[in-house]
Symmetry: C2
Subunit: 572 residues, 2 copies
């Protein structure tokens, strides 16, 4: 299978998978189609813009029998001419323990029905399983996967489906919250030669609000596999979690929730799920929601109501995927995920914990300290006193984030000091060297780059010809901005909310400050001693003469000579 990566932001990628049944653009949601009882025709789902679906090979086999299924092929059975992924029944193992078919039989069957993406008969560890049990499941899954791949290869189309009808075999990663097992199975599957991997059963994590553990599991798997291999996430297709999953590098994700929820009158929104009774005004303009009032939907015959809610749920999921893709295209996925995280406290915890390390590495106030966020207590969870460090994903994010972007970066508060483009700028300044013996630091100007600003020109005039002065501006988030590099993105291209930022929370600023003064032997620092923020850091300076730059802070604050740059389009 060919997987081409077109564009990246954070660890997210927009890519293209070539299959025997058309091109699939990723990230892609993969709706679950029931091979026998599907109420919303797969063809309708294709029209809605879903180019890949997943169905269950195990149920297909039980329903139609091996021979008929193989004769017709899965595309004819579910009446869908796009790309099809088949799950082998692993979920049934999770649910009922046994399936009554051997792994080699299933592999042979999946090959026989000519699916585009085949998954071996894995044993999902789920969430909350004791480590020894989980380890055994992982071992079995790896063995089965090796057999399936060998069988497929001997039958002439292995994981390297060549796009003309051959299967792509997907290696199932298991291990649940036991991260070492997740890492181990990912690595083993790559070694076996799988060209695509799938991460097992996050459903239960989500049902118990374990977004943080889910995110850590994804990050762990991603860091154990090559960049070029696509990752599927099993059973995770809710608008609430899609942006985070995509930001962490998931390329496809399936779920049946659109219909399962609909049967319980559960209506998906960008901020979570509501029961139809809770909806007074549809927060949606899809074909269903702009045609009916909530009251009308409530009064419909059950089947019609369920199908309408299911169609809305599909629209809601697709919308979230498209929003996320557009954010990637604009290079503002960080902003989107941060905003999105305010939809639920557990999601906010996950994002804060993973994306802004300092917020969680700082000592936690006790009432907010439970690292094992949980409604299901398990022996495996780290004890509150020794939280397991989150996998370092900042490296992943740095690698995937372009350093130069079209759009201005919007900065809100201390959390944004960890945004990859900002972190990269801190690194530049931490390497900055000058022989000058005086450094003058003033707040950043509205005019960008700083060397174009009136503040700089006037300050420069005040010292006229003195070329022993290193002029700098600063931003609490972006750090020290030496005038010479004030035109490098995002120094020249960001918009920062002018609200109070707690200096104690600006840990990256502190590191840059220390490095800047350590690397450069300044004898004097000039800054406005009324500037409380700089004052906080000036305290750290030993053996540097402090000179008061009167009015510099307020001068900058009063400046309103130019509009904030790069925001004409975003704002209003």
């Amino acid at each position: 299978m060919q997987f081409e990566i077109k564009r990246t932001d954070l660890a997210a990628r927009i890519g293209r998978m070539q299959t025997g049944h058309g091109t699939v653009e990723t990230p892609a949601y993969v709706p679950v189609i029931h091979p026998a009882k599907q109420t919303i025709p797969a063809s309708r789902i294709k029209e809605m813009g879903f180019d890949i679906v997943i169905t269950n090979a195990y149920i297909t086999r039980n329903t139609y029998g091996h021979d008929e299924a193989v004769r017709r092929g899965i595309h004819d059975i579910i009446k869908y001419d796009g790309a099809i992924m088949t799950d082998s029944g692993g979920y049934q193992v999770l649910e009922y323990g046994k399936v009554g078919v051997t792994p080699p039989e299933m592999a042979e069957f999946e090959r026989g029905i000519r699916t585009d993406f085949a998954i071996p008969l894995d044993k999902p560890t789920g969430f909350g399983m004791r480590r020894d049990a989980a380890e055994a499941y992982v071992r079995d899954t790896l063995r089965v996967s090796r057999e399936a791949l060998r069988a497929a290869e001997s039958a002439g189309n292995g994981s390297g489906g060549d796009g003309d009808g051959g299967q792509t075999w997907i290696g199932p990663i298991q291990g649940g919250e036991h991260r070492d097992l997740v890492a181990r199975s990912a690595k083993s599957l790559v070694r076996m030669g799988f060209e695509m991997l799938a991460l097992g059963s996050p459903v239960e994590f989500m049902e118990s609000y374990e977004y943080r553990l889910l995110a850590e599991m994804i990050a762990t798997a991603k860091r154990s596999m090559p960049h070029g291999i696509p990752l599927h996430l099993f059973g995770a297709g809710h608008p609430l979690t899609i942006p985070l999953a995509v930001a962490l590098g998931c390329d496809t994700f399936d779920s049946a929730s659109y219909i399962l929820y609909a049967r319980q009158d559960r209506y998906m929104t960008e901020d979570g799920t509501r029961t139809l009774d809770e909806i007074e005004y549809f927060p949606c303009c899809c074909a269903v929601c702009s045609r009916y009032e909530p009251g009308e939907l409530r009064l419909m015959p059950r089947e019609q109501k369920v199908n309408n809610i299911a169609v809305h749920n599909l629209y809601a999921i697709k919308l979230e995927v498209d929003r996320t893709k557009q954010a990637v295209a604009e290079g503002r996925l960080w902003e989107y995920v941060m905003k999105k995280s305010r939809a639920h406290p557990r999601l906010y915890e996950a994002v804060t914990h993973l994306m802004t390390p300092s917020s969680s590495s700082l000592p936690l106030s006790s009432s907010s300290s439970s690292p094992s966020s949980s409604s299901t207590s398990t022996s495996s969870q780290p004890s509150p006193s020794t939280p397991a460090p989150p996998p370092d994903i900042s490296g992943m994010f740095r690698a995937g984030t372009p350093q130069y972007k079209q759009k201005a970066a919007f900065l809100y508060g201390a959390e944004d000091q960890h945004r990859p483009e900002v972190a990269a700028y801190h690194d530049i300044v931490r390497k900055f060297r000058t022989r000058k013996s005086i450094v003058a630091i003033t707040p950043e100007s509205h005019t960008k780059p700083g060397y174009m600003s009136r503040e700089y020109r006037e300050l420069y005039k005040r010292r006229g010809d003195d070329d022993d002065v290193q002029f700098c501006q600063y931003s609490p988030i972006l750090g020290i901005i030496p005038i010479e590099v004030s035109d490098i993105y995002p120094a020249a291209h960001h918009e920062q909310a002018r609200v109070r930022v707690d200096p104690a929370a600006c840990t990256e600023f502190a590191k840059t400050w220390d490095a800047f003064f350590e690397n450069n032997g300044f004898a004097e620092v000039w800054y406005d001693k009324n500037d409380a923020f700089l004052g906080h850091f000036a305290k750290r300076l030993k053996g540097v003469k402090k000179h008061n730059l009167r009015g510099a802070a307020t001068a900058a604050a009063r400046r309103t000579d130019t509009a904030p740059r790069g925001t004409t389009v975003q704002s209003k």
Copy 2:
């Protein structure tokens, strides 16, 4: 005109206006219809769910002449059978200075064309006008309004449109950023007997990103008028600002932006505006966006393209209004506005400044201190050193926010200490009295209410029969929670993100802490001395014996005996 308020949250209201042409539910967006050159038929706009539109009486008069217009009536002219509001041409004054028709003539004309809502020929101050000039404009507008109202009354249907075809006259508030003028004109108009007011020309505020000044202007007008009178906001119909405007109590708002933007290929999104060229994936599932690809739209003949973008823009605006109304219905408007504010740094400033006083009352770090956010500098703006205090809207919010709600309150960080339900709980505890001489304070339990929690029961056992102990739990946001009142909303019904909260930012916690110890003569306080958060406040206690409650903090952190309450639906 009858205006009935059904429901409120913050200063927002869901209401119903009875007009001669049907009931209008508020908050409502009022699309601008061009009386002659409308390309999207008003009937189509009605089908989309807009029950009220606004058109320009001045242009109508110039186009059709007085007599024909009066003979046909405005409903026939624009082919719309819902409620119609007519602007008198004030905008033309703003644009061209003169209109060549006297105020009484316009008033007579608006009555003649049988509009449902008539607006006198006002003189918009806009934004950035010097105070003396603005004052003159306000004076003129008030005089004209008085004349118009008198003329209408003498003609037998005054501001008290009785729902059978009579007009409702809307009093135009002017004054721009000069808040005293805004307050004065609002009060005068109410005294004159206007049953509805309209706030003048925020367009320019928005075009210069002055969301903060816009919000202050709205808050000022609201605080100068009775609760029962609806407020219209002129020219402010962008998805970015709608939730804030509604939260501040605007009931209707018009704008022509849906079509004006469309003519410039500008596509509205919930987070701002994009040019069509910037859109790779429509972040929308409306009739237009789910039918076409961005590329197809770009290639359309101009008129077809403009109309399609305009229809999308109308859907985007309606969606934002419906989302906001649903948030009011769920009692989570605070959460929605806070989340929404992350769409643009200037919006975030406005929300932070207005809704979370302490964040801005704290000394500003200089580089983030400009209170006169601006791209157009005006003499009138407060100097950075002495920012004008924002109008106190917390009172408005408290009055409009029900103290008991169905849904759990989601709490994220220090900003939520100002959420009305939270502030109300702080007030309860600040009045709490007990004769007990010992107070034991532990982190809040996952089980709510606290008196049902294992932590409490075990702690209680530890002291067995001692009834001299006042047991309390605490939350950094909600403050001290005496066990006796731990079942009062939202103490028993909130979900707090477990991330580090900076004690220094918890100003409401500090006030409650001081009041609690001042009102109750505790001799001893028991708390876990490893609890950094409590330690920060314990320092403030003089003459109270501090007793270490070993392990209380970690015990609470380890507790995972129950799922967070009230979130089954919201999450996943």
